[in-house]
């Protein structure tokens, strides 16, 4: 049966043509295609890896930033707290100093007032004594005849004092 018996002619042509096609395609087509595919797949793999690394770095950076921010925040709080303490201290000190100065001034003022008072009293005493002496002297110097004259004199002196 011819259907099942391979013909020598077709075997020959098939062998020749297939081998030619195979060698031509293997050299000029399959080799460059295989290497191009490999190169592209390598590139895609590398790109994906690079993207992953970049993502990781980004996350790392973000974490770093967060940490820095946190640290800055803590530092700021610390500084604020310290500043507040210092300010309070200064205020307190100022208050204390002011009150001590005031007290001292008040005390000084009291002392000086006391002194002034004493001096004034002494002066008044002196004046009263002098006036009394003057009045007594004038009384004595004038020869007083009667009580009326004496009394008038006293009034006159008293008026003088008032005028003074």
């Amino acid at each position: 049966m011819e259907l099942l018996t391979p013909g020598i002619g077709l075997i020959f042509w098939q062998l020749v043509v297939f081998l030619i096609v195979f060698f031509v395609l293997a050299t000029f087509v399959w080799k460059p295609i295989a290497s191009a595919l490999r190169a592209r797949e390598g590139m895609i793999e590398d790109s994906l890896k690079a993207a992953d690394i970049a993502k990781e770095e980004m996350a790392q950076m973000k974490a770093d930033n967060e940490y820095l921010l946190q640290e800055a925040r803590v530092e700021r709080d610390q500084m604020l707290k310290e500043a507040m303490t210092v300010a309070n201290q200064i205020k307190e000190d100022a208050k204390n100093e002011t009150s001590s100065i005031t007290e001292k001034m008040i005390a000084d003022a009291k002392v000086s007032i006391e002194n002034e008072k004493k001096a004034a009293l002494a002066e008044v005493k002196d004046l009263v004594a002098t006036l009394s002496l003057d009045i007594a002297e004038k009384l004595i110097r004038e020869k007083l005849s009667d009580d009326k004259a004496q009394k008038g004199l006293v009034d006159k002196f008293l008026k003088e004092i008032k005028v003074n």
């Binding site: 011819e2 259907l3 099942l4 018996t5 391979p6 013909g7 020598i8 002619g9 077709l10 075997i11 020959f12 042509w13 098939q14 062998l15 043509v17 297939f18 030619i20 096609v21 195979f22 031509v24 395609l25 293997a26 000029f28 087509v29 399959w30 080799k31 460059p32 295609i33 295989a34 191009a36 595919l37 190169a39 592209r40 590139m43």
Partner: protein, 343 residues
Amino acid sequence: MEPINMIKSLLSQLSKHLKIKVLLVFAIASAVTVESVASDDSEEFNPGEMINHHIMDSHVWEIWHGMNVYLPVIIYSEEKGIESFSSANFFDADHNAIPYNGYVMDHDHITLASGDHVLDFSITKNVLFLFIDAGLLLLIFFAVARGYKKNVGKAPKGIQSFFEPIIIFVRDEIVKPNIGPKYERYLPYMLTLFFFIWFGNLLGLLPGAANLTGNIAVTLVLALLTLVITTFSGNKNYWGHIFNTPGVPFALKPIIVPVEIIGIFTKPISLMIRLFVAITAGHIVILSLLSLTFIFHSYLVGIGSTLVVTFINFIELLVATIQAYVFTMFSSLYIGMAVEEHH
């Protein structure tokens, strides 16, 4: 692989095509009976002859009825040496076979007038379609390769983007898993094999085309190439499995070793027969169904058989791809068994 498993897998491969084979037998049987009935009247339509004419090789390419391309004949005989002439010389004006220059052609079989055998290297219909298949492969894949040169490191474009997934499929799904880490050496052969068979199968489905991949000479050469590559790739482990199968008691070796040696040849033979049968049977089924119209002389049968043939044609498109896949896959598997390292 254990010999029993091998035989099992062989059987399962064959049983896959058993249905098609049954159809083949049925078609041939029915064709023969129709022929004997119809032989009373030589003008009567003869489906058996028509089908045989379509699936077999010829020196004349009949594009459609009455439109013949006479192909060149190249023959060698000891008496006359190499001679080449057109096959048109074998026909007279009424398309009757006549002897020419001491040669006789009977049903596309050329002999000397004395009846002696000649070696026929003619450019037959199948050789012509072999050239077309090869030409298509070169044309298309040079265009694809140009795409890779032009779009270096870029996404594929045009014809390149159509064939790239198929090339990657052959590489990643057929060759790599079956051959293993050394697959790259065999990738060019496998890609050529896959696309040669696929294009050949598809070409064969065109009306008026030759049944190239359904010719046993073509499948024989392809299977032989796989056998040669497998044999020359075989490592110590592979030959050790054949001649000194590990894990087999010494007493069984006289049985196992011949089985293993037969196994070297049954593998390519199964490749050869599978492709030949699957493609030829497909053609026979389609032609038989079409013949029904002319046997019954009925429009109704014509409509029915056309519908069925259209459906079968779609299946044949699938079979064309599956057979290319299966041939490449088993070739890879056999080579993979030959290069597999001991584990």
